[in-house]
């Protein structure tokens, strides 16, 4: 039988390799197919490759070229194809990051391979493992039979990196990337998260279901707590109703307060990525099927406009009696 080769395309990060790259290796190990795992790393320095090979105990094939210092789609893809031509993998596994989502579907199309993005779990199937991913805004779970050959991306935080048991190994590959198509003009960092949000013990977060009228109620509820703060999911920020500094989630702040009260937030992966570390999660939503209830400890299926005024009154009277 031919040996199964699985390539994991890592991301170099200041002489190391990203956590997502190592999680992708952890995913491959959970597939329980005997396979040769090869880490592919495209960058301008050797350090990350050595770090990765040792950390995960895998063979790493770095493609090194000065043009690969910053990611540019065309250069990166051409170099990646050159390395994959040598590796000849059946599966190509990519961390689901901004960059991964940029090149992975293109790679699948170029290689004419099936593409399954943002895999967040594994189930056992009758003949092959089943890849689990969220669809319909997290309301539904999709299970996909793992094809013999495919390009996959792995959701951040879904698998836990483990220390490798085998000695790692680095084999450099020469690459000649195509010239870039796009000009990279610079990078801007987001405004820092609201200071109140970062040190809050209780965060009251409002979402699409709260709408414009729910925001004052959320703010009032947050004010009931000693160190309470208002947070938001993306839709209200996109609509210009709240500033970006209050946004919690994949494209906003990551928080871990003692109590998180999600009001009118459906709880798609993009939001929960930023708050799943909260100690105690309360969810209020009119949709009993909202995925936020899978994460919440305590849930109420009701309109927050009815519940929040009662809750505010209750907390105020409790506070009054404690003082």
């Amino acid at each position: 039988m031919m040996e199964v080769v699985i390539a994991v395309v890592g991301e170099a990060e200041g002489g190391r390799v990203s956590g997502g790259s190592r999680e992708a290796v952890a995913f491959v190990r959970r597939l329980s197919t005997p396979a040769r795992v090869i880490g592919v790393l495209l960058s301008d320095s050797r350090d990350s490759a050595a770090f990765w090979a040792q950390a995960d105990g895998i063979e790493v094939m770095p493609g090194l070229a000065p043009g690969l210092k910053t990611y540019e789609q065309r250069s990166f893809l051409s170099a990646l194809i050159q390395v994959l031509d040598r590796v000849r993998p059946s599966l190509v596994v990519v961390p689901h990051t901004a960059r991964g989502s940029d090149f992975a579907p293109r790679l699948a199309a170029r290689l004419r391979l099936p593409f399954t993005p943002s895999v967040c779990g594994l189930d056992e199937g009758e003949t092959s493992p089943l890849l689990i991913r969220q669809v319909m805004g997290g309301k539904v779970i999709e299970r996909i039979e793992l094809p013999e050959a495919a390009v996959l991306t792995v959701a951040p935080g879904a698998f836990t990196a483990e220390v490798g048991s085998a000695p790692g190994m680095v084999r450099e590959v020469e690459v000649n990337p195509d010239p870039p198509a796009a000009r990279v003009m610079g990078r801007s960092e987001p405004p820092t998260a609201d200071a109140g949000l970062a040190r809050a013990e209780v965060i009251v977060a409002v979402g699409r279901g709260a709408g414009e009228t729910g925001i004052p109620l959320g703010r009032e509820l947050a004010a009931c707590f000693r160190r309470g703060a208002l947070g938001s999911s993306r839709p209200l920020v996109d609509a210009g109703l709240l500033p970006y500094e209050l946004q919690v989630g994949q494209t906003g702040a990551t928080v871990a307060p003692r109590v998180y009260i999600a009001c009118g937030i459906s709880g798609a992966l993009q939001h929960t990525a930023g708050m799943s570390g909260a100690n105690f999660i309360v969810a209020v939503n009119t949709d009993a099927n909202a995925p936020i209830f899978r994460l919440a400890h305590l849930g109420a299926v009701m309109d927050l406009r009815e519940l929040l005024p009662e809750l505010i009154e209750r907390l105020r009277s409790m506070r009054g009696s404690e003082q």
């Binding site: 309301k139 779970i141 801007s188 100690n279 209830f293 899978r294």
Partner: protein, 248 residues
Amino acid sequence: MVCVRAVPDLESFPAAEAERFPAIEGLRYRLNDYDLFALEEAARLREGIGARVTVVTAGPARVEEQLRKAVALAGDDGFRIDLPESDDPDPFRTAAALADFARPRGFNLILCGAMSQDRMRQAVGPMLAELLGWPSAAPVIRLEIVGGEALVDWELEAGARERLALPLPGLIAVQSGINVPRYASLSNVLRVKKMKLPVLPVAAPEAPTRTEAAWRAPDRGRCEFVHGSAEAVAAIIAERIRKSAPVL
């Protein structure tokens, strides 16, 4: 060219019946939210630089209603590629059908939404660009056309952004929040109501890129639900919050 997609209405989607999708009775469809942002960008280019806008969708006959709505928002014309329901789950097949449509027509720019809200793959746009040999950027939160190039900001991790000058022709997948989508004016709705939206046949599949997928409702998880009047529920929640942390 703007690519749009009809998706099942997320709010009313019965998760418990997910296994029967798409054969769920009475399922309502609407335009994918992200596509509304792409259409708004197109409408602005139409007004700003006099761009001619063609709206395209690939899907069965049921999607015509949403196509018509999209054309009313931003399009000069609209086409439906007759992709059967059974091929809908394959992003490569959709991208290949759209590429066949785009190739002979000389578009300068293709806009689409950053992802579909039902399948959530973020795949068709980049695949379409790949098949055309064009550069692509996704998800894009700012777009400006300057001197034959697209100046875009695309989103990286945790809110960071990178600015790119993308040569045209190119494909841009638009992120939510890039603009505030308009409603279609009555005159535009009437304009499109009588318009003939051609239906084009789809070529045979090129490669076995389809995966076998099944949908199911997620597990209930650990949530303890509180029932009763708002007052009773508020009392329980307040008590539990106080127990879990001295935060008042």
